[in-house]
Amino acid sequence: MTNRRSLERSAILGPLFGSALREWILLSLLTMEESYPRELAQETGYTLRAVQKQLAGLEEGGVVFSRLRGRTRLYSLNPRYVFRRELEALLRRALDAMPVEERERFYTPRLRPRKPGKPLRT
Protein backbone atom coordinates (compact mmCIF):
# COMPACT_ATOMS: atom_id res chain seq x y z
CA MET A 1 0.00 0.00 0.00
CA THR A 2 1.12 3.51 -0.80
CA ASN A 3 0.42 6.28 1.61
CA ARG A 4 -1.04 9.51 0.50
CA ARG A 5 2.04 11.62 1.25
CA SER A 6 4.45 9.43 -0.71
CA LEU A 7 1.98 9.32 -3.58
CA GLU A 8 1.87 13.11 -3.69
CA ARG A 9 5.66 13.32 -3.51
CA SER A 10 6.21 10.88 -6.36
CA ALA A 11 3.60 12.30 -8.74
CA ILE A 12 5.24 13.09 -12.07
CA LEU A 13 2.21 14.06 -14.10
CA GLY A 14 0.33 15.55 -11.14
CA PRO A 15 0.90 19.14 -12.31
CA LEU A 16 -0.46 18.20 -15.71
CA PHE A 17 -3.47 16.23 -14.45
CA GLY A 18 -4.11 18.62 -11.58
CA SER A 19 -4.00 15.85 -8.99
CA ALA A 20 -1.58 13.19 -7.76
CA LEU A 21 -4.54 10.90 -7.10
CA ARG A 22 -5.76 11.24 -10.69
CA GLU A 23 -2.29 10.34 -11.92
CA TRP A 24 -2.19 7.28 -9.64
CA ILE A 25 -5.62 6.13 -10.82
CA LEU A 26 -4.67 6.42 -14.49
CA LEU A 27 -1.33 4.67 -13.99
CA SER A 28 -3.05 1.92 -12.01
CA LEU A 29 -5.68 1.40 -14.71
CA LEU A 30 -2.94 1.27 -17.34
CA THR A 31 -0.94 -1.39 -15.53
CA MET A 32 -3.77 -3.37 -13.91
CA GLU A 33 -6.18 -2.98 -16.84
CA GLU A 34 -9.09 -2.71 -14.45
CA SER A 35 -9.80 -1.83 -10.84
CA TYR A 36 -12.58 -0.72 -8.54
CA PRO A 37 -12.90 2.35 -6.30
CA ARG A 38 -12.38 0.61 -2.97
CA GLU A 39 -9.19 -1.06 -4.16
CA LEU A 40 -7.83 2.23 -5.48
CA ALA A 41 -8.74 3.98 -2.23
CA GLN A 42 -7.00 1.29 -0.16
CA GLU A 43 -3.89 1.57 -2.30
CA THR A 44 -3.63 5.33 -2.09
CA GLY A 45 -4.78 6.20 1.40
CA TYR A 46 -7.32 8.60 -0.07
CA THR A 47 -10.96 8.33 0.89
CA LEU A 48 -13.33 6.23 -1.19
CA ARG A 49 -15.29 9.38 -1.91
CA ALA A 50 -12.20 11.17 -3.27
CA VAL A 51 -11.43 8.24 -5.57
CA GLN A 52 -15.04 8.00 -6.75
CA LYS A 53 -15.05 11.73 -7.51
CA GLN A 54 -11.94 11.42 -9.67
CA LEU A 55 -13.33 8.37 -11.47
CA ALA A 56 -16.63 10.15 -12.09
CA GLY A 57 -14.79 13.10 -13.67
CA LEU A 58 -12.69 10.79 -15.83
CA GLU A 59 -15.73 8.80 -16.91
CA GLU A 60 -17.68 11.96 -17.70
CA GLY A 61 -14.83 12.97 -20.02
CA GLY A 62 -14.77 9.57 -21.70
CA VAL A 63 -11.25 8.82 -20.43
CA VAL A 64 -12.33 5.76 -18.45
CA PHE A 65 -15.39 3.57 -18.65
CA SER A 66 -17.04 1.30 -16.16
CA ARG A 67 -19.10 -1.84 -16.14
CA LEU A 68 -20.78 -3.83 -13.42
CA ARG A 69 -19.44 -7.25 -12.58
CA GLY A 70 -21.66 -8.75 -9.94
CA ARG A 71 -22.00 -5.95 -7.42
CA THR A 72 -18.66 -4.36 -8.21
CA ARG A 73 -18.22 -1.48 -10.64
CA LEU A 74 -14.98 -2.08 -12.50
CA TYR A 75 -13.16 0.78 -14.22
CA SER A 76 -10.78 0.63 -17.19
CA LEU A 77 -9.12 3.11 -19.52
CA ASN A 78 -11.68 3.68 -22.25
CA PRO A 79 -10.46 2.12 -25.51
CA ARG A 80 -12.81 4.49 -27.39
CA TYR A 81 -11.23 7.62 -25.89
CA VAL A 82 -10.01 9.71 -28.78
CA PHE A 83 -6.62 10.41 -27.15
CA ARG A 84 -6.20 6.90 -25.76
CA ARG A 85 -2.94 6.08 -27.54
CA GLU A 86 -1.42 9.45 -26.68
CA LEU A 87 -2.53 9.13 -23.06
CA GLU A 88 -1.12 5.62 -22.77
CA ALA A 89 2.18 6.75 -24.31
CA LEU A 90 2.38 9.60 -21.79
CA LEU A 91 1.58 7.30 -18.87
CA ARG A 92 4.20 4.77 -20.03
CA ARG A 93 6.79 7.56 -20.25
CA ALA A 94 5.88 8.56 -16.71
CA LEU A 95 6.33 4.97 -15.54
CA ASP A 96 9.72 4.80 -17.29
CA ALA A 97 10.78 8.00 -15.53
CA MET A 98 10.04 6.59 -12.07
CA PRO A 99 12.61 4.95 -9.84
CA VAL A 100 12.31 1.16 -10.20
CA GLU A 101 10.87 0.58 -6.73
CA GLU A 102 8.13 3.15 -7.32
CA ARG A 103 7.30 1.72 -10.72
CA GLU A 104 7.01 -1.78 -9.28
CA ARG A 105 4.17 -0.69 -7.04
CA PHE A 106 2.03 -0.40 -10.15
CA TYR A 107 2.85 -3.91 -11.28
CA THR A 108 2.24 -5.67 -7.98
CA PRO A 109 -0.79 -7.87 -8.54
CA ARG A 110 -3.50 -6.91 -6.05
CA LEU A 111 -6.21 -9.28 -7.17
CA ARG A 112 -4.06 -12.37 -6.99
CA PRO A 113 -5.78 -15.75 -6.93
CA ARG A 114 -6.68 -16.84 -3.43
CA LYS A 115 -8.43 -19.95 -2.19
CA PRO A 116 -11.82 -19.19 -0.63
CA GLY A 117 -11.58 -18.60 3.10
CA LYS A 118 -7.80 -18.26 3.10
CA PRO A 119 -6.75 -15.02 4.81
CA LEU A 120 -5.02 -12.44 2.63
CA ARG A 121 -1.57 -11.45 3.90
CA THR A 122 0.07 -8.37 2.48
Binding site: E60, G61, G62, F65, N78, P79, R80, V82, R84, R85
Partner: protein, 181 residues
Protein backbone atom coordinates in the same frame (compact mmCIF):
# COMPACT_ATOMS: atom_id res chain seq x y z
CA UNK B 1 -45.10 24.01 -31.02
CA UNK B 2 -46.06 20.60 -29.63
CA UNK B 3 -42.79 18.69 -29.21
CA UNK B 4 -44.61 15.39 -28.68
CA UNK B 5 -45.87 15.51 -32.28
CA UNK B 6 -42.43 15.81 -33.82
CA UNK B 7 -40.35 13.02 -35.30
CA UNK B 8 -36.96 12.29 -33.72
CA UNK B 9 -35.23 14.14 -36.52
CA UNK B 10 -37.52 17.17 -36.17
CA UNK B 11 -37.10 17.22 -32.40
CA UNK B 12 -33.31 17.02 -32.75
CA UNK B 13 -33.50 19.89 -35.25
CA UNK B 14 -35.52 22.02 -32.83
CA UNK B 15 -32.89 21.50 -30.12
CA UNK B 16 -29.90 21.82 -32.45
CA UNK B 17 -31.27 24.93 -34.13
CA UNK B 18 -31.97 26.60 -30.79
CA UNK B 19 -28.36 25.99 -29.70
CA UNK B 20 -26.95 27.14 -33.04
CA UNK B 21 -28.96 30.38 -32.80
CA UNK B 22 -26.99 31.13 -29.63
CA UNK B 23 -23.71 30.70 -31.46
CA UNK B 24 -23.06 27.17 -30.22
CA UNK B 25 -22.18 24.27 -32.49
CA UNK B 26 -24.27 21.21 -31.66
CA UNK B 27 -23.69 17.86 -33.36
CA UNK B 28 -26.12 14.98 -32.89
CA UNK B 29 -24.32 11.67 -32.31
CA UNK B 30 -25.08 8.22 -30.89
CA UNK B 31 -28.25 6.15 -31.03
CA UNK B 32 -30.50 9.01 -32.15
CA UNK B 33 -28.60 9.13 -35.47
CA UNK B 34 -29.30 5.41 -35.83
CA UNK B 35 -32.97 6.06 -35.11
CA UNK B 36 -33.11 8.68 -37.87
CA UNK B 37 -31.14 6.67 -40.42
CA UNK B 38 -32.64 3.25 -39.70
CA UNK B 39 -36.08 4.63 -40.50
CA UNK B 40 -37.96 3.38 -37.47
CA UNK B 41 -36.18 0.04 -37.04
CA UNK B 42 -34.39 1.24 -33.91
CA UNK B 43 -35.62 3.28 -30.96
CA UNK B 44 -33.37 5.53 -28.88
CA UNK B 45 -34.45 7.46 -25.81
CA UNK B 46 -31.65 10.03 -25.82
CA UNK B 47 -30.62 12.85 -28.08
CA UNK B 48 -26.84 12.93 -27.60
CA UNK B 49 -25.29 16.22 -28.64
CA UNK B 50 -21.64 17.26 -28.59
CA UNK B 51 -21.74 21.02 -27.99
CA UNK B 52 -18.86 23.44 -28.54
CA UNK B 53 -17.41 25.62 -27.20
CA UNK B 54 -17.65 23.56 -24.05
CA UNK B 55 -17.05 26.52 -21.73
CA UNK B 56 -20.47 27.91 -22.70
CA UNK B 57 -22.49 24.89 -21.58
CA UNK B 58 -24.26 27.14 -19.07
CA UNK B 59 -26.04 28.77 -21.98
CA UNK B 60 -27.39 25.38 -23.06
CA UNK B 61 -29.52 25.22 -19.93
CA UNK B 62 -31.13 28.57 -20.78
CA UNK B 63 -31.71 27.50 -24.37
CA UNK B 64 -33.31 24.20 -23.40
CA UNK B 65 -35.35 25.79 -20.62
CA UNK B 66 -36.86 28.01 -23.31
CA UNK B 67 -38.07 24.84 -25.05
CA UNK B 68 -39.57 23.45 -21.83
CA UNK B 69 -36.73 21.13 -20.80
CA UNK B 70 -35.42 20.98 -17.24
CA UNK B 71 -32.07 19.68 -16.06
CA UNK B 72 -32.00 16.27 -14.35
CA UNK B 73 -28.41 15.29 -13.64
CA UNK B 74 -26.55 15.55 -16.92
CA UNK B 75 -29.78 15.05 -18.89
CA UNK B 76 -32.53 17.45 -19.87
CA UNK B 77 -36.05 16.08 -19.68
CA UNK B 78 -39.35 17.41 -20.94
CA UNK B 79 -42.76 16.66 -19.39
CA UNK B 80 -44.40 15.91 -22.76
CA UNK B 81 -41.83 13.62 -24.36
CA UNK B 82 -39.93 10.46 -23.48
CA UNK B 83 -36.79 11.55 -25.30
CA UNK B 84 -34.15 13.17 -23.07
CA UNK B 85 -31.38 15.47 -24.25
CA UNK B 86 -27.77 14.83 -23.22
CA UNK B 87 -25.34 17.67 -23.86
CA UNK B 88 -22.68 16.43 -21.44
CA UNK B 89 -20.60 14.71 -24.13
CA UNK B 90 -17.08 16.09 -24.16
CA UNK B 91 -15.75 17.41 -27.50
CA UNK B 92 -14.27 16.76 -29.97
CA UNK B 93 -16.71 14.80 -32.10
CA UNK B 94 -14.77 11.64 -32.80
CA UNK B 95 -15.06 8.03 -33.89
CA UNK B 96 -12.38 5.95 -32.23
CA UNK B 97 -9.10 7.82 -32.72
CA UNK B 98 -10.43 9.89 -35.56
CA UNK B 99 -11.45 13.48 -34.85
CA UNK B 100 -14.29 14.74 -37.04
CA UNK B 101 -14.96 18.29 -38.09
CA UNK B 102 -18.52 19.36 -37.25
CA UNK B 103 -20.65 18.33 -40.23
CA UNK B 104 -22.44 21.02 -42.25
CA UNK B 105 -26.01 21.52 -41.05
CA UNK B 106 -28.87 19.95 -42.95
CA UNK B 107 -32.25 21.63 -42.96
CA UNK B 108 -35.09 19.72 -41.33
CA UNK B 109 -38.51 21.40 -41.46
CA UNK B 110 -36.81 24.76 -41.77
CA UNK B 111 -34.40 24.18 -38.87
CA UNK B 112 -30.69 23.49 -38.90
CA UNK B 113 -29.42 20.15 -37.64
CA UNK B 114 -25.84 18.93 -37.61
CA UNK B 115 -25.54 15.18 -37.25
CA UNK B 116 -23.07 12.42 -38.07
CA UNK B 117 -23.24 11.26 -41.68
CA UNK B 118 -24.52 7.70 -42.20
CA UNK B 119 -20.89 6.54 -42.73
CA UNK B 120 -19.65 8.22 -39.53
CA UNK B 121 -22.71 6.92 -37.68
CA UNK B 122 -21.74 3.37 -38.72
CA UNK B 123 -18.15 3.97 -37.54
CA UNK B 124 -19.47 5.33 -34.23
CA UNK B 125 -21.58 2.22 -33.65
CA UNK B 126 -18.79 -0.08 -34.76
CA UNK B 127 -16.44 1.60 -32.28
CA UNK B 128 -18.77 0.42 -29.51
CA UNK B 129 -18.81 -3.06 -31.03
CA UNK B 130 -15.03 -3.17 -31.54
CA UNK B 131 -13.93 -1.76 -28.19
CA UNK B 132 -16.78 -2.54 -25.80
CA UNK B 133 -17.89 -5.79 -27.45
CA UNK B 134 -21.38 -4.32 -27.72
CA UNK B 135 -23.35 -6.64 -30.05
CA UNK B 136 -26.34 -4.30 -30.01
CA UNK B 137 -24.13 -1.59 -31.51
CA UNK B 138 -23.17 -3.99 -34.32
CA UNK B 139 -26.87 -4.49 -34.97
CA UNK B 140 -27.36 -0.70 -35.14
CA UNK B 141 -24.47 -0.33 -37.61
CA UNK B 142 -26.06 -3.00 -39.81
CA UNK B 143 -29.47 -1.30 -39.71
CA UNK B 144 -27.94 1.97 -40.93
CA UNK B 145 -26.03 0.17 -43.71
CA UNK B 146 -29.21 -1.52 -44.89
CA UNK B 147 -31.22 1.71 -44.98
CA UNK B 148 -28.71 4.36 -46.12
CA UNK B 149 -25.89 4.82 -48.61
CA UNK B 150 -22.76 4.09 -46.54
CA UNK B 151 -19.19 4.26 -47.80
CA UNK B 152 -18.14 0.75 -46.79
CA UNK B 153 -14.65 1.18 -48.21
CA UNK B 154 -14.14 4.15 -45.87
CA UNK B 155 -15.49 2.11 -42.95
CA UNK B 156 -12.91 -0.55 -43.85
CA UNK B 157 -10.07 1.99 -43.98
CA UNK B 158 -11.07 3.40 -40.61
CA UNK B 159 -11.43 -0.07 -39.07
CA UNK B 160 -7.92 -1.04 -40.19
CA UNK B 161 -6.53 2.24 -38.80
CA UNK B 162 -8.13 1.31 -35.48
CA UNK B 163 -6.45 -2.10 -35.62
CA UNK B 164 -9.81 -3.88 -35.93
CA UNK B 165 -9.48 -5.76 -39.19
CA UNK B 166 -10.76 -9.04 -37.81
CA UNK B 167 -13.86 -7.51 -36.26
CA UNK B 168 -14.44 -5.53 -39.45
CA UNK B 169 -14.52 -8.81 -41.36
CA UNK B 170 -17.13 -10.08 -38.91
CA UNK B 171 -19.21 -6.96 -39.60
CA UNK B 172 -18.79 -7.44 -43.37
CA UNK B 173 -19.83 -11.10 -43.19
CA UNK B 174 -22.93 -10.19 -41.22
CA UNK B 175 -23.79 -7.35 -43.61
CA UNK B 176 -23.46 -9.66 -46.60
CA UNK B 177 -25.69 -12.23 -44.92
CA UNK B 178 -28.37 -9.61 -44.17
CA UNK B 179 -28.26 -8.24 -47.70
CA UNK B 180 -28.78 -11.70 -49.16
CA UNK B 181 -31.69 -12.58 -46.88
Amino acid sequence: MKLSRLTTEELAAVVGDELERRGLTAVLTGGACVMVYAEGKYVSHDLDFVVTPSDRLGEVEDALAGLGFRAEGRMFVHPEIEMAVDVGNIPPVSVGREILQPPAPRVVSGRKLRMLSPTDCVKDRLAAFYFWHDRQALEQALLVCLAQPVNIREVGRWSRAEGMEERYREFQRELGRRRRS
